[in-house]
Every structure is written in structure tokens, then in C-alpha cells.
Symmetry: C2
Subunit: 173 residues, 2 copies
DNA sequence: TCACGTTTTCACTAGAAACTGAAAATACCG
DNA sequence: CGGTATTTTCAGTTTCTAGTGAAAACGTGA
């Protein structure tokens, strides 16, 4: 029924399936992770129907997850002239993927946490003794740590891959 | 019915609740995140019943999540002499929390990914042209990036807080 | 404007994950 | 031992998330 797969496609299918499982552990949904894996290893941009076909998923599912990936800036939409379908292409450069994910996670996960910590610290700034003071201090410690992490992160993601590499090498030596 | 809460407990309750929501975005379950928040801000170790009471959750739920937190090395069990209940105490030092979480995530999330990438690369090591070669290269790139990241991470988490801070400051300046 | 190819939405369903409460197991004490 | 305090397990239930498929909306070219 189906043609024989080239050998590398075999490995690719394993990669896609397993990356999907790994994704769930990261709190990313399986389909999104699989689509991302599929596109990262696609020789050419793919359209919705191709993705549906390869992963055996519904149009709605394919559509939503493709658009979510676009929202994460991990995938971009390509249009071909004389064809009104949308094609999707993933960023393949590892360093760029890393930067993109870091930025998004900072925005979605770290910054809200920092806001919460500052809010809680502010509410208890007058506590000067006992458990109230300890709580205040704990909020400040967490805030300081995360904020500092963000600063370091910002510096790293503003670097070119080569500079970051060089800097990291220095740490290791 | 209930006594007035000290003002700092008000902030604490907000912290616990919100940390729970944030946790879900991280892919951590709400209850676990809330218990962790509760214990991180607890003046004294707490027993299961206190946790149940504070968070209004069942014994089973409290129990499983407390034990999971112990499994993550974020919480330890304390026993008091003359009392056969178990009490739970969270690590409060931010740097130690960071190291603990980093180690666990490396083990649970990064290392399996690296194994997958190596496997897929190995399967395609003979591909020398076209899409097969590109796939192989992509696997190697991802592997190399993650492995390098692990190396850097290992170096950082082996540092004392002060040294890490000093090192990071140098980066920022 | 209509017809057609395509994208988007959404009510519904399936499946997974979290939670409950109570029974069973365990540990300790006299 | 027997009694009691505590922990652990787990079948059943609820809640949430992901996924489906078809209808609606959109957009373009004739």
C-alpha cells in the first residue's frame, strides 16, 4: 500500500514520535512537539494537509498547533506564488531555537512569577519581626534570584552563538 | 468562625494560590506547587494534617504530593522525638532549590532527549547526501547543543552560590 | 457576484490527570 | 501480643486537556 520509506525517514519517524513523548514531560502538548519535530526535520516547508497526513491527526488539531507554534515564533508561514495554501517552516538553527524558547519562557513563566513575588514582598514590607519578616525576606530572595537570572539570560540571548560559545568555554576551562 | 489572619498570612495565601497557578503553566501540578509554596513559607515544619487543613485537600492528595516533593529533594521529612507524626520541611535557600531543580530536570528531561538524538544520529550516520544527510546533521547539532548545555549546567551547579554570583557578575559587566 | 479552495472556529467526545475517601498496611507503645 | 496513631494505597469519581470533524468564515479569481 505505502511506498518503502527511505532509511532516514525511518529514523525521522522515531524522532518525531519520541520527541512528542518528551514534550509531554516538558508540559508541552504531544501534538505540538511532534509537529515541531516534523518541521525541524523537513527538507521543505509543509502545508496543513501534509502535516495531517504524516501525523494522522485532524485538521483542527493540526491547524491549532501549527498556529500555536507560529505564536511561539518557532515556525513561520511561507506562501508560494500561484498557490494559495500556507506552508510552514521551522527554524532549524539550534542557537536561534534556544533564544526563541528562552524569550518566550521568560515572558510567560518567569515574569509573572516575579510580579507575584514583588507584590507579596510589597504587601509585607512593614513586617520587621518573626515569621512576617521571614516571609518578606523569602519573597525578596526569590525575586532577586529570578531577576538576576533574567539579567544573565538577557545577556546570553543577546550574544551571537560564537561569542556565547567562547564565553561558556572559558567557564569550563 | 476562623480567627483573624496576621497580615503576612494574607500575602502568604495569595502567594500559595498564585504559585499554584504558575505551577500549572510550568507543567507541574497545582497541588504540588501549592504545597511547595506553603512549605517554603512555613515558619515551622508542617504535618500532613496541617497541609490538608490549610489547602483544603484530601489526605490522599496531600500525601502523594508531599512524597513526590520529597522525591524531588525539595522537601525533607522531619521527625520530632516523642511524636510519631512525620513533619515536612522545604529547602528555603534559593540557590539550593535552583540546583536541586536543575539536577532533576537534567535527569528527567535533557538526558532522555540526548539519548534519542544520539540514537537517531547513529541510525543515519551513513547518509552522505541530500535530506538524509541534513537530518543526520540536525540530530548532531541538537545533541551537541544540549550536551554542551549540560556541561555548562554541571559546572554552574557545582559552584558555591558566591562563586556563581561572581562569575555571572563578570558576564554582565 | 458566485464558486471554489482554504483557513478558522467550535460543540462535542475521548482520554488523561488529579483528587477523594475510606480501607488496608504499617509502626510504635504498653 | 492488642490497641492506637499514622501512613499508604487504590477503586471510583471528577475535572481538565487534547483532539475530532463538520460547519462557518474568509479570500480570490473568473
Amino acid at each position: 500500500m505505502s511506498d518503502e520509506l527511505p532509511p532516514w525517514e525511518k529514523a525521522r519517524e522515531e524522532f518525531v514520535a519520541q520527541w512528542g513523548s518528551l514534550g509531554t514531560q516538558w508540559g508541552i502538548n504531544r501534538t505540538m512537539a511532534m509537529i515541531h519535530a516534523l518541521l525541524m526535520t523537513a527538507p521543505e516547508p509543509m502545508c496543513t494537509d501534509e502535516v495531517m497526513e504524516k501525523l494522522q491527526i485532524s485538521r483542527g488539531n493540526a491547524h491549532t498547533n501549527l498556529k500555536d507554534l507560529v505564536g511561539w515564533n518557532l515556525v513561520r508561514i511561507i506562501t508560494k506564488k500561484g498557490d494559495r495554501k500556507e506552508y510552514f517552516e521551522a527554524e532549524k538553527d539550534v542557537w536561534k531555537i534556544f533564544i526563541t524558547i528562552s524569550k518566550e519562557r521568560k515572558r510567560r513563566e518567569i515574569e509573572p512569577a516575579i510580579r507575584l513575588l514583588r507584590d507579596c514582598a510589597a504587601q509585607t514590607k512593614d513586617e520587621t519581626i518573626g515569621p512576617g519578616r521571614d516571609f518578606h525576606q523569602q519573597m525578596k530572595d526569590l525575586d532577586e534570584f529570578l531577576s538576576f537570572g533574567v539579567k544573565v539570560g538577557d545577556t546570553v540571548i543577546s550574544m551571537k552563538h560564537a561569542s556565547a560559545l567562547q564565553w561558556a568555554m572559558r567557564l569550563l576551562s
